[in-house]
């Protein structure tokens, strides 16, 4: 009898632990069945949608709760610069982009806890109304802990291993149809303080 109880208990403990643990691992690693990669940015075809798969829904709950579906807004996120190095608040970056086929866009920096970095700078984002594009529609901004005279600046101070999100509100159908290939801003690492990666 004791042997049978131990058998059932061990099956339940190990099974639930492995099942729950693997689920948390998938959620924390950003697994999305409908994931679409675009250079270093990623999004999902089903964020907010009623036909979202359970993995996308779980990820949305973790990092994008109350996100709109892609007919209204498309969200891309990235955690790495163009060379594939994770973002760090010890480094200086330049984000460069061109015209985006959308009614309005913004780029926002988030700390690893998925909230705005606590730094008192009040420069957490840039948007279509705050940057001044050139004649070709090109624009750029500095992402760094210090403004250092830059006109367009996103503060990464206290952002740690931060991430960036770009929001495309009322996107043209061309974006939704080409989520993986539409031209999105590039982010180049210019320098880092010594010893930082």
């Amino acid at each position: 009898m004791l042997k049978r109880i131990l058998f059932v208990l061990s099956v339940l403990v190990v099974g639930i632990g492995a099942g729950g643990g693997s689920a948390m691992l998938m959620i924390s690693s950003g697994a999305m069945i409908g994931r679409v990669d675009n250079d270093r940015w990623f999004t999902s075809r089903t964020i907010g949608a009623t036909d979202a798969d359970p993995y996308t829904r779980a990820l949305v709950a973790r990092i994008g709760l109350l996100g709109l579906n892609r007919n209204e807004t498309i969200y891309y996120t990235r955690t790495e610069d163009d060379s594939g190095q994770p973002f760090s608040d010890a480094c200086i970056y330049r984000i460069e982009g061109g015209p985006l086929a959308t009614r309005w866009w913004s780029v926002t920096l988030y700390a690893p806890d998925n909230f705005l970095a606590v730094n008192g700078d009040e420069r957490h984002s840039i948007d279509a109304t705050s940057v001044a594009p050139d004649a070709d529609g090109r624009w750029s901004a500095r992402i760094a802990a210090q403004q250092d005279g830059a006109e367009n600046w996103i503060s990464s101070r206290n952002g740690g291993a931060f991430s960036l999100s770009i929001r495309l509100y009322n996107p043209e159908p061309a974006i939704g149809d080409h989520l993986g290939t539409v031209a999105l801003p590039h982010i180049v690492r210019e320098s880092c303080v010594e010893g930082a990666e």
Partner: protein, 176 residues
């Protein structure tokens, strides 16, 4: 069959069930916690969120360029009416079910310039002709509780203050 084979198969089955169950429960648990935070002052009423700053900690990844108003609705006692004031720029009313799905969205380009009223109900809740006639849209909620969220583009303090004035005229309340 050897006992270790039975143990392994049983454990794998339990693990698979736990994995699937956890995945399905997780969004509901997170949404439920968020609704509890948003409705601390009550359900079926707008909570006009202060300008997003680094101190904003209710919902992850908020946009500092938008003015948010949230209403945790509860249809247990009947339909809920939501009114939306006009805004001279991007704005949207979006409805979210208890499992996080964004099942309905209306933006300023798809609503009359003077604003709208939307009635939210469960599919089995009847409306009178007059009630139907008073609404721009009647929307069936897939869950008894959920969240109505209004976003207004307001990237500057001046625009935020204008948005704040506009949203004070809005309603999220039981229809009757």
């Amino acid at each position: 069959m050897r006992s270790w084979v039975v143990w392994t198969i049983s454990t794998l089955v339990v693990a698979a069930l736990a994995h699937v169950g956890f995945m399905f429960m997780y969004p509901n648990v997170v949404m439920s916690a968020a609704m509890a935070r948003m409705s601390a002052q009550g359900e079926n009423e707008w909570r006009h969120v202060a300008r997003v700053t680094e101190a904003s900690r209710v919902v992850v990844r908020p946009s500092p360029d938008l003015a948010y108003s949230a209403c945790v609705y509860n249809l247990a006692s009947g339909p809920v009416a939501i009114s939306v004031s006009p805004w001279g720029d991007y704005m949207s009313l979006s409805l979210f079910a208890a499992n996080t799905d964004n099942y309905y969205t209306l933006n300023d380009r798809s609503m009359p310039a003077e604003g709208v009223t939307v009635i939210l109900r469960r599919p089995d809740q009847e409306l009178t002709e007059a009630e139907r006639g008073s609404a721009f849209a009647v929307v069936d909620s897939p869950s008894q509780r959920g969240v109505a969220l209004i976003r207004r583009l307001a990237p500057t303090m001046e625009r935020f203050e204008q948005a704040d004035a506009a949203r004070r005229l809005e309603q999220c309340a039981q229809l009757r």
